[in-house]
Amino acid sequence: MKSSRRKFLKIAGVSALGLGAKPVLDVLAASGEHEETSKPEIMKGKDALIAKRWAMVVDTRKIESEEDLKPMIEACHKIHNVPEFENKNHEIKWIWLEEFKHEFPTQEHEFVDERVKHLPFLTLCNHCQNPACVRVCPTKATFKREDGIVLMDFHRCIGCRFCMAACPYGSRSFNFRDPRPFIKETNPEFPTRTKGVVEKCNFCAERLAVGRMPACVEASNGVLTFGDLDDPESEVRKLLKANYAIRRKPALGAGPSVFYII
């Protein structure tokens, strides 16, 4: 049961608890006629969006002010039950805003043009090709799926926070206390977390599994484009072909899947 749940997590993309699992999970029981397939096989939901390598392009030219970006942050934090703390030490965030000099510290210089200098940049997990967090996790609680999404198993995490030290983008948060009392309105479709585990953006794996785009992308008014980096005909590839885009800290070789058109 445990291993089948894990396999399901990996393939179908519901990141925890298996909420809404039944509609997308089709287990071929190892009984009678399926003797040669003794292991249960898991099929993707019929509406699931699939890709070889999911990626996101942020078109910063379409952003005027923070107001354009706030709905995306709100949408994400609301559906994912991200709590709000007053104590900054306990802060949890999946997606947030940074200035250019913090988002791209190695590319910053004193002559950056005024627009870029004051532009808010959307910051989230990069779902790297070579994720350091996955490399260091001692329990495989954080892992990379075949479609490139880096996920968390909140039930396996021991809270050692090695992944937080390893992430070069500061994308991970830790539950320093029970988050539940600090969730404004709990979304029953997505699990809440317990104290003592790490969490981060999951590229809305649970929505892709049922054929929906990530919440931030839906709320972005065209600022964000999401698609398959492996498919030359995808929207993200078309955008990257026509525009020069940058990634965060390219010299580290992590291979981020989030691109920024400046």
Binding site: P105, T139, G159, C167
Partner: protein, 387 residues
Amino acid sequence: MLEKALTGSKRYYGWMAALLAVISVGFVCYLWQFRFGLGITGMSRDVSWGFYIAQFTFLVGVAASAVMVVLPYYLHDYKAFGRITILGEFLAVASVTMCILFIFVDLGQPIRVMNVLLHPTPNSILFWDMIVLNGYLLLNIVISWKVLEAERNNVAPPKWLKPFIYISIPWAVSIHTVTAYLYCGLPGRGFWLTAILAPRFLSSAFAAGPALLILLCMIVRKFTKFDPGKEQIQSLAKVVAYAITVNVFFFLCEVFVVFYSKIPDHMDHLIYLFVGLHGHGVLVPWMWASMILMVVSIILLVNPVTRKNETVLVAACITVFVSTWIDKGLGMISGGFVPNPLHHVNEYVPTVPEILISIAVWAIGFLVLTVLYKIGVTVKEEIAGLA
């Protein structure tokens, strides 16, 4: 032999009771942390490892330093150290015990700790650290116990023990190397991303550990009838002298590379630690104190006149211990997290319960150490016909 820990002087019982009192205060704080979460500490999203992991790192070094008495005795047949190998090995046992406890109190989900065994993950350095630390603990328990037992019965230690003793020598080096690898393989942390981190860890360990051992030898001499010996203490002092010198040299190598290359990601942390960054610098006085004390101790220890004076030697050993503790137990870990990967400066200061829990873990270590030393010293006294 265990029964020897059960009888003792009033002072012995008093000391044990004091330790137990300190432990129970920390235990209550831990229960609070267990219920509330790690939010009772000063750690944050930016500085996600703090005092606990820093103590762990420092103590791995103290544990590894047992090799500094084991190696000369078993590999170079330096007879004098035969008298004190047991003290070094017992110190290693107590230190590794503290290391394991510090990792444990740092976990967000301690009851899930067995997940590390249920889902073994060789690409994680933490997995290897678990193996080398537990292995080292076991090696030292078995070796020290068997050797002491043989000594008591006035026979040679069993032959099968030899290979384990030889293995324990590189094993000691491995525990601190692997611990350094926890940090120095992380791509976004310029402070730790240096090949000299493991050598630096080892050099400061071989200074701090033997310095503590000298102090312990002096205490044993003062309060028991067993004398670890003048020559032994002087030989250890030479080890401390050169280890602390090498440690400062390694640090200067680091400083050169960082500031001559002028790569900001690497400079910022040292700037934060030694002069402060963007108006933040809680650790600045500590780091300078550490550096000054290291230099003072080099002067006192390399110079034979001061080294041979045992009063000065005690002062020098305390200096070494304090300076290396500040370096590793305070600066090394939080220094790597400030500034954060996005170049924000959020400082870390431990909270009172966090410090009380840490002190309690230290007290548990000293409790284990006291029991082991009590046994070891009583046996030695008996052999010498003093008891």
